[in-house]
Every structure is written in C-alpha cells, then in structure tokens.
Symmetry: C2
Subunit: 491 residues, 2 copies
C-alpha cells in the first residue's frame, strides 16, 4: 500500500488522482463521471458545510429545499440561462420500469412516458424563481435570503475527482430584494464571506474579482469570483456570487408592490460553492507524501499512536494515551487514538501522513519512563519531544502555528506566481512554462479574450477588485486598456 | 390570513394540509408530487438531522456520499429488490437538450441517448453494495458502518405533503459485517436508537416491532419498524431498520476472508428515516389552532413580542426584551424577538401560535412599570405573569414541562387507542369508527393478511417486540395463533 505517490514535479495530475484515492477521500463510481465521496472526504465536506452554514445564518440566511426535478420548459424561460445549462443535463423521460419478456431483465416501460420531460437540476434558479412568484407580493415579503444544500447534475464530458464531476454537492444561495442596491450589496457581501472563510479556515489565499462577460454565469448581470492558485500554476475558481439584476424576475414574472405603491420587478442574486473546494485544498497544500490539512478543516487534528512490544507495555502506553486523549478532547480538539493491533506503527505513520492529520503524537515505553512524549507536525515534519504535562499547551500552539504557516506558505507561493507581463511573447512563454496568475492588459473585448484562449488555453480568471487604474496596451491587440486583468490556465 | 383552520374533527386531512402550508412548513411544488420545504419546515428537519446524526456518530457510524444515478441493471441484481423498486422510479434516458427548429423551445436531443438508462435512486442498496465489493477483502475491512443523508425519488401516484412525496429527504444507513450475529444486533440497535430519539426528543411514543413478510423491505430478511399513532387513529411508520442477511452480498458478489481464512459472504443491514417524520410530529401533537412543537425540536423555543403605542414606549419595551433575549440565548435557548413594526401584535400572536412556538413572551409598557412580564405556553395555553427577574427560571422549567407533557399526552392517547379485539365483526367496527392500534390474533399467513387488508384497509403494522405469548385464534380464519399483532389503517 505505501509505495510512494507519483511526484508532483513529475506528473501533477497522477499525483492528485492517486492522493485522492489513497487518502480515502473519494473514488470514481461505476456511473460515468460520478464519484463516491468516502467517509474521510465527506468528513472534510461536513467541516466546510458547518463553517459556511454558520456564516450564512449569521448574515441572516435560512435554509430551504426545492425539488430536484425541473420541468424542461422552465429552463427555457431565461434566454442565456438555457444556452448555458440545457446542453449538459440529465433528462428524465419515463417513470417506470417493467420486467422484459425474457423474465430476467428490466426495461423502460414505454407506456410510462412523461408528457413533459424533467431535468435533473443543474442549478436551481429556474425552479426557485418560479416559486418566488407565489411568495412575493409586497415589499414586506422582501428580502428573501435563502440557501439550499443539495446535489446537482451537469453532464460533463471530461471529469476529474472533486474538480469536475457529473454529480456534485454544493450550496446555492438564492436571494430576492426590493432594490438594485441591496441585491448588488448582497452579491458582494457573499463574495467577501467566501474569500474570508477560504483565508481564515481553509488557509487558501484567493483573488477576489469580477468575471468578464464571456465567463459570466448564464443568466447573471455580473459574476464575482474567488480564484485560487494551485501548485502546478493553474487557477481554480473556488466560489462565485452572481448579481442577477431583474433577469429571473422578468423571466418568471416576479413583481412586488414597492413602498410607493408601484409594481416593480424583484432584484436577485445567487451564489454557490461546491465539493471542488476539497480539490482546491488538496492542490494548494499537499506534498509528495500526501495530504496536508489546515487544522480548522481537519476531521482529525491529532492522531495518537502507541508503540509497544508486550501486552503489558501496550496496556500502560494505551492507558496513558487515553488520558491524553480525554485531556485534549475536553479542550475541543479532535483526537483519534489508533490502538488497533491489526496494523503496525509504521503503517499507521504513513497512513495518517497521507491523510494529512496536522499533528502526530507517539508514545512508547521509553517515553513513558522518562515522562516524555513525541510530537510531529505534518506541515513542516518538525519533531519534538516534550514533557508529557506540556502536551496540551504544545498541541494548542502547534495547531495555531500550522494554520498560520499553511496560509502564509500558500500566500507566498501565490505572490511568487503573480507575474506582470506586457507583451504577448512573454505571456505565451509564461503560460507554457510556469503558469501562475498573469497580470496583463486586455482591450476589453470578448473577441480578444477568445483568441488568447484558443492560442494559449489561458482564460481571464477575473478583473481583480483591488486592481488599480493603470494605462497600458492590450498584450494581444495593442489597443488601450485602463487596468490589468488576471489570466491563467484553469481547472 | 387568520381565518381558522378546518377542525380536526371535521376533516383531519384538510386540517393537516392547511396547517402545513399556513405554518410555513412546506407546499406543493409545480413538479408533480414534489414539495418545496420552506425555511421553517427545513429548520425542523435540520434539528432532526442534528439529533440523529450525533447519535449515529456516537454509535460509531460515519457519513459518506454515493451517486444519485444508478445503472438500470444494478436494480435487477437482487430479485425481490427489483420487484419492490423498479416499478416506481424516475428514468434518465438522455443527457442533452437542444434548441428546437422553431428557435424558441428546447427539446430532447435524440442523438444524446444513453446506452444504459440510469435510475434516480429510490434507495441506495444496489449502488452501495456494488461499491462495497471493492472495499471489502478481509475481516479487517469490517465492519463498515456508513450513513448517507440524501434525496431519493419514488414515483408515487397519490402524494401528501411530507408523508408521501415523489422526492423526499432521508438518511440511509448501510452497514456490512463479518457475522450474522453482528448484523442482527446492528439492525436492532438502530431500531432502538430510532425509538429512543422519537420518544426523548420528538415526544413521540412508538411501538417497536417486526414487519410481516408481506410488509418487509424489498430485499430484507427481516424489517424492524417504529410505528406511531396519529390523532385520527391511523398509524404512521416512522422509521425502519432492515436485517439484509447475505442477500445483497450475494447479489453483488461481496465476499471476505474470515478469521479462519475462509471466503464468506458479507452480512448487511440498512435503516432509514425520512422527512415524513415531520408529518408524524404534526399529526401527533398539533391542535385546531395549529402546530405544537416539542421544545427539543422547535427551531424557535421562545418568541418575544413587544406591545406599544408610541415610539418612546417601543424603544423602552424592545430594549428590555433585548436584555431578556440575550439572557436566554446565553443559556442556550433559541429566542426570536419579533419587533417588526409592519405587523400588529395580534397577527404575531396568531402566527406564532400556528407555528407551534412553545413559549410566547409578551411585554408592554404596563408590565414594564410593574417589573412583570407575561408568558403563554403553547401546549396548554396557560398564561402566567411573573416578575421579570424570574424569566429564565420560568422559561427553563416550562420548556422541560412542555416536553414532558407533550410526550405523556401522546402516550396517553396511544394507550387509549390500543384496543384488544377478538372477533372480526368488532375488528371491522373498530377500524371503521375509531381506528387506533388494534391488537388481534392472526394465523401468520400472507393470505389472511391480504384478505383483511382488502376488506378493511387495515394492515399489520408490526408484531410488537415486547408482545407476550398468548394462545388465541385468528380473528379471520379461527386458526391458532400464539401472539397478537398490531393492525391499523396507515398513512
């Protein structure tokens, strides 16, 4: 089992795929493009869910649940939405199977054909705005600040574990407002919430920005994004927040009586993040030995492994570790004491290293005699032997340091790979060699954007929110530009 | 808005449907048989999820996530499973839509037909056991104790809010074991866990029992159930736990090497409960004025409503209530202070009564002067005016009392409606008039069971686990029987 992983520098993609499987995060399912999220991967998703859900509720949002299946005609109501989503969806056409004449196989019952086909939701704007029509009459019914945790299906042709899968899990916020200003503020608020949590909990430095028209969500007036940089120099869109204007309100005829007594269309937003965040975590932080998890996201923060030869030693060592476990758990730290005797310590060391557990604690008979205990940090591999009475103090300070260190390491990588480029030759060279976030001038047209994409596979990830005005010329056309945008190849 | 609900005694079904909608729990969606779970209803589901999820984890279970879409052929592998589930499922046959020639509508792209149809999961035994095949080689890989929170689709012909819907939310546990004994114990353990939580948190008294062969889960060797009794005398199956034997292991060829080095089929269980539990809560506890929620499940335990005429009064009253709110929230009580000035107190009283909030706290300028505050219990409608400094104490003891009172009231109802019947005429009479749990002798055959069902619509809900041996004769055939079973009409 513990042959080394492929090296990141040799084959980043194989390294990633093998790591995901070997760390017990996920695996490809037998259904094309779908994955099984295994318990350890799902435990990470539960941590992520809990953190975001708490933040959503603090900002006044509540959860609800809308149907999985959407009548085909609904998708059709918002013109650009149908363009973006109708192409890649699972279509339910029948509602019954029956036994075939051979008495062995089941076949689709042709008499059970739906009069209107149903689509497995690729996103829920259509079904939700069709419902909001009945919920909203007056300004007193606004704002509606809803979120939904759910599964969605998009028929992807090329899939990759967590990053792009036919079915994925996500949250989708859908809000409705009485004014344009309020909707715009909501979309921005959620962008900042995403970025702050990515930074503070997942140790992910992200660039906050606006998508170009071409990269916008199908049906949005404006899409905000948080973009993260992976260790192979490729970008990953980690979350998006859309200002929808009145487009879905118009498509589904959702109006309200405003404070002046006039009938007006409702203003909307939507925002989402998905299980691909787990992919972002992995590709930002991990090394050739496996996963490295930030303590605030790690399902297990401390693993304890006993070393012993005899049954007597085992009893003593495990009993001491149980005391330590209780001590740490009472401080709110998640601890796993792995005292299985079916696996050797060496196997356990490698396994938890691969699983990215932030701190490993080891205790053997010698330590016990000396009153000491050994700790190893996953991020730096630093080893320390301390007096056992300082265990909690040491764990506490290391968990804090690991979280900080991981963020600063990732931030420093991002800064090193944020390159100003002023001519197309250097641009192509940079994209083909090191990748990274390339800050370059662009003339603002979709035409230029698409040509650059075609020639280099680089897309405009965003127009950074904190970018400064700076006169320049488009790297491709030489036309004038007033600010740099961020190009990168992306997942 | 506040015309009275239909009375339970006049039309229980209309009362239920209107209550669900008016209390803001759920409504029918535009998709046939599907519902939208509204924020207040979903908040109840979140409470239920949290309680059960915590209990699952304490008993060693972990969560995971398996694909929504299941290849048609998988359903076919377990003979009785396909019988039970293939008849009522949503079938995905295509993966793309395209614009019609009219340039207006979208149609299914006939070139995007799947070579094998996919079924939207009606339950996940098939997809999970097909995966377990790859996860299990040795006894060291066992037990596997997994749970999944997910949505499932069953094409129901007659639907009812929460109780029977085309799509519903649930948890489904799927465990794999090395021995028959361990699997049997697991199925029983989960039954008791379900029953205990229903009693201790949801204030639902339930009968634990075994299903007859005819009522068994399609693919199980044995199905355990918890059965609750609704106020209209009908039964509701609130959760089931299945001992699967080796049936799914055989269907998907899942074997392991046991401790003696021999290859053996794996033993399995599955167990689930769904959003219909919310229906059980409503139909057990509520009255003609609306919902009544047990404090441990209530998303809002205490609602605070200010009374005032002038702005000055409002400021004083709301400020005092904010202090009270902080005080209670610091004790872990969920409080909502409704200080909206767009609605009158009378509207708010009726609204929160309909929503079943356990305690209402009201403060006006007169109270403020006297240093008193008014409280009303939702379950008994008892009103009390107390000195404001005793608020926390009073709320704390009432929450406890309400929880207890609701359970005992429901238990007493159940006991009153648990009837011993010894002849078929009385049986029919009882079923047609009062309903309830009817304890009667049955000859043990499916034939008799089906005839009774056909003639009276009563089914055998279960063979109670705590039933005693008692010689008797079948109410229908007069054949000998050794124990009574529970008959009822059921949802």
């Amino acid at each position: 089992m513990f042959s080394p992983l492929p090296k990141r520098s040799d084959n980043f993609s194989s390294w990633y795929n093998e790591l995901v499987v070997r760390a017990g995060l996920a695996e490809n399912a037998s259904v094309r493009g779908c994955i099984t999220i295994k318990p350890y991967g799902y435990a990470i998703w539960e941590k992520i869910q809990h953190i975001f859900d708490t933040a959503f509720k603090k900002t006044g949002h509540v959860n609800a649940y809308f149907p999985l299946l959407i009548p085909k005609s609904y998708l059709n109501k918002e013109a650009s939405h149908v363009e973006g989503f109708a192409k890649e969806c699972a279509v339910v056409t029948h509602y019954r199977l029956k036994m075939a004449e051979d008495g062995i196989n089941v076949i689709v019952d042709p008499t059970a054909k739906l009069t209107e086909e149903l689509i497995v939701r690729p996103t829920s704007e259509a079904i939700i705005w069709s419902t909001y029509k009945n919920w909203i009459q007056s300004h007193r019914d606004l704002p509606i600040l809803l979120n939904q945790w759910s599964n969605v299906v998009r028929w992807e042709m090329r899939t990759k574990l967590f990053l792009r899968t036919t079915e994925f899990l996500w949250q989708e916020g859908h809000t409705a407002h009485a004014t344009q200003h309020e909707a715009e503020q909501e979309a921005l608020q959620m962008l900042h919430l995403y970025g702050d949590i990515a930074r503070d909990y997942m140790a992910l430095p992200v660039i906050k920005g606006i998508k170009t028209q071409n990269e916008r969500f199908a049906g949005a007036e404006n899409t905000y994004t948080i973009e993260a940089l992976m260790q192979d120099g490729k970008a990953l869109q980690a979350g998006t927040s859309h200002y929808l204007g009145q487009r879905f309100a118009k498509a589904f005829d959702v109006t309200f009586t405003n404070r002046s007594g006039l009938r007006e269309y409702v203003w909307g937003t939507s925002w989402g993040l998905t299980t691909r965040l787990i992919g972002a975590l992995i590709m930002t932080h991990s090394d050739d030995d496996g996963l490295i998890l930030p303590p605030k996201i790690a399902p297990i923060q401390v693993v304890m492994i006993p070393i012993y030869k005899t049954d007597g030693e085992r009893a003593l060592v495990v009993s001491q570790l149980k005391n330590c476990e209780t001590l740490l758990m009472n401080q709110g730290i998640s601890v796993k004491l792995d005292d299985r005797d079916t696996y050797k310590p060496g196997y356990k060391f490698a396994d938890y290293e691969q699983k990215g557990v932030p701190i490993r604690v080891v205790l053997g008979p010698n330590d016990l005699q000396k009153g000491s205990i050994e700790l190893v940090r996953r991020d730096t591999k630093t080893k320390k032997i301390i007096a056992i009475e300082h265990l909690h103090e040491q764990v506490h300070s290391w968990l804090h340091e690991i979280q900080e260190n991981m963020y600063h390491r990732a931030l420093s990588f991002q800064k090193q790979h944020m390159i100003l480029v002023d001519d197309y030759a250097s641009f192509k060279e940079q994209i083909q060699t090191k990748g990274g976030f390339i800050l370059a001038h662009w003339d603002g047209t979709t035409e230029t954007e698409l040509k650059i994409k075609e020639e280099t596979k680089a897309t405009i990830r965003c127009i950074p929110l904190d970018g400064i005005e700076e006169a320049g010329t488009c790297i491709y056309t030489g036309k004038p530009s007033m600010r740099r945008v961020i190009f990168a190849q992306a997942y």
